[in-house]
């Protein structure tokens, strides 16, 4: 059997779908956040797979930037969750409805 890029793209699609499922189905804000990380990871895997397939380093450089931005995003997001938890004593995303018109 030959290991082609299709296998990696398939795995990436599956992981992305699982992350999307987590975002849509879970109510715990922290778990939703972890699901978003998993989706970013699936995209990274696709980037690296294409970098390998096309013989180009640019894909790996892009993964670099994605990881950096993800780190910044996690810091800000978790700070938001901490702040929300302080004021509402809950991180259930169904109860966070201050912006509801």
């Amino acid at each position: 059997m030959e290991l082609t890029i299709n296998w990696y793209i398939a795995l990436s699609a599956i992981l992305f779908s699982l992350g999307a499922l987590g975002v849509l189905l879970r109510r715990n804000a922290i778990i939703v956040f972890m699901s978003i990380e998993m989706m970013l990871n699936a995209a990274n895997l696709a980037f690296v797979a294409f970098a390998r397939h096309l013989g180009d380093l640019d894909g790996q450089v892009l993964v670099f930037f994605v990881i950096t931005v993800a780190a910044a995003e996690v810091a800000v997001g978790l700070a938001l969750i901490v702040t929300i938890f302080r004021s509402k004593k809950s991180i259930n995303i169904d109860e966070i409805n201050l912006m509801k018109g």
Partner: protein, 174 residues
């Protein structure tokens, strides 16, 4: 992109990462979820090694499985949020979310199937293994992506300031 042992490693790591992802989604305890996610990230790091990206694999383990997940665990334990869970049953919005999720999965898998069968990904010749050492990666980063690199630095600074502002306790509140 390889055969023989690489296929076995790929299948093993793919199964581990999918299983870890499923366990992360369905586990009741947020700390368990975080640990399953670490396993998922580690399995993907092994795949990066297979894909001729050793430096990215190391960054994945130190930054993702290390720093980011420690931050997650820290916040979970700080809030005592490990048991906070959906206490209610299925209500209206959740049913709607489930439908959207199923549609999304079907679209994604269908799109992948289309790409493989008609779009032509994966066809075409195999490219040679290129030099992906940290030196080559750094050269590429600083020769072609200096401006994005600087912008990323500004973004990180903005994130630091943002986090400090968010979590600062106002004197009147205390």
């Amino acid at each position: 992109m390889g055969s023989g042992p690489e296929v076995i490693i790929f299948i093993l790591m793919a199964l581990v990462s999918i299983a870890a992802a499923v366990m992360m989604l369905q586990s009741r305890n947020a700390v368990h979820s975080a640990l399953w996610l670490v396993l998922n990230f580690t399995a993907i790091a092994v795949l990066y090694v297979l894909l001729n990206a050793p430096f990215i694999a190391m960054v994945q383990i130190t930054v993702y499985a290390g720093a980011i997940m420690v931050l997650f665990l820290f916040v979970i334990m700080l809030l005592g949020a490990e048991q906070l869970q959906a206490m209610t049953g299925v209500h209206g919005s959740e049913r709607y979310h489930r439908a959207v999720a199923i549609v999304l999965v079907v679209l994604l898998v269908g799109g992948f199937g289309y790409l493989v069968t008609l779009g032509g990904i994966g066809s075409g010749g195999e490219t040679a293994v290129i030099d992906a050492s940290p030196v080559a990666l750094g050269l590429r980063l600083f020769e072609g992506y200096v401006l994005p690199f600087e912008v990323t630095g500004v973004l990180l600074l903005a994130a630091i300031i943002g986090v400090a502002v968010f979590t600062r306790r106002k004197k009147k509140e205390a």
